[in-house]
Subunit: 230 residues, 2 copies
């Protein structure tokens, strides 16, 4: 799977959250692009890259309840009508589109009666409408509120959650999470220093055992449910 | 009253609707500005002009369910947090903000189940949230769908409706409409060629008479209602 991350931020170097995300990118399968860094958008090239991606991530800080102007410029320029739905061809159909959005306010601000007075879903409705017009699949939004207040353990968790958002099979079910970890654990263990590797291998073994146990449990539950339905 | 019209359109000269609006501007009380024409926004100047305006009109074609990038650039640059709500000062509080939006689709496309799948209100929700944050008064949107399909009589009507949206006292009640016309009719008649002026004066007289008759009717209705309420 190829994931294309399009970052819109006018001062990327000054953004601790964007630098954090950049350092957290998975090693493979992800192409990262900073829209504001391009003097002029190469429409043909951008469109070709969209065609090649399976998942497109739009990543930005929320400015006035929307993406920064550079993302809108990208939309207005790259997403021509002919490209998106001309002649009833939909080259983006079926591709996934996800939004990674940072905000300076707590999550509770984004609701009726909250300080911002509208939900993130309402703020992102115009973007979701573009996805709908292109017959793309909209992923649940990945929102990070008040990044600078996160603790170190929260940041470690954020690295994993972010990587999963970029590369894990959706929807975000237990089975898909397990499969994602199972694929990455051996690689992670191999990257550990020699002294810590036995611990890493133990974790892998425990993970596999628990996964088997969970699958058995799921089978049992399914059986019970089947009996009840009769 | 001073109305400031901010137009966002990347190709203004090619836009028949924007050229039509420009030609339809009231002669006085309106300051018109094309955002895309400015090489760099003068933040202090833009902010000063916002302070001086009573009504701010954001005028643009709907691109991907939002304003063109130039308006977002203006928001991101001119509407600094300090300016809009810093130190609990709200310099824009109480000012009216209205949107004049043109779309290439019929009105019915903008609803659930319609071709666009979302309402104009939903598309403009991020802008309305900015207005709310600034404690401004949001006016009902002035939408023009498929301008190029309008007939000549519809266009004549559009001139009047557009001028009223820019300068008439809100809300758009019969009394406010009448007051707006009463103020402009003598001026309009004076601008007529000499041969047509008697007709114009007749229209003014008829308008005044009908206005008096309407007021009497309103008084009578109010009296009847009062009796019923007892």
């Amino acid at each position: 799977m190829t994931t294309r991350v399009l970052v819109a931020h006018p001062q990327l170097a000054d953004s601790t959250s964007q630098q954090f995300f950049k350092a957290s990118l998975p090693k493979t399968g992800v192409i990262w692009e900073h829209l504001d860094a391009q003097p002029a958008l190469d429409v043909a090239r951008e469109q070709a890259q969209l065609r090649q991606a399976d998942r497109i991530i739009l990543q930005f800080p929320l400015y006035w309840y929307a993406a920064p102007a550079s993302l809108k410029q990208w939309e207005d320029t790259v997403l021509t009508r002919t490209f998106v739905y001309g002649d009833h061809r939909y080259p983006l159909a079926g591709k996934e589109v996800g939004v990674v959005v940072t905000t300076g306010m707590p999550a509770k601000a984004f609701q009726r009666g909250g300080a911002e007075g509208l939900t993130l879903d309402a703020a992102l409705a115009p973007l979701a409408a573009v996805a709908q017009r292109a017959k793309m699949t909209w992923l649940p939004t990945f929102a990070v509120h008040q990044f600078s207040y996160l603790t170190e353990p929260q940041k470690l968790q954020l690295v994993i959650d972010y990587q999963r958002y970029l590369t894990q099979t959706q929807p975000d079910t237990l089975a898909n999470r397990q499969a994602w970890f199972a694929q990455r654990l051996p690689e992670m263990v191999q990257q550990l220093p020699a002294a810590q590797r036995p611990t890493g291998e133990l974790i892998t073994t425990t993970f596999d055992q628990q996964r088997d146990a969970l699958e058995e449990l799921a089978d049992t539950l399914a059986m019970i449910k089947e009996t009840e339905d009769d």
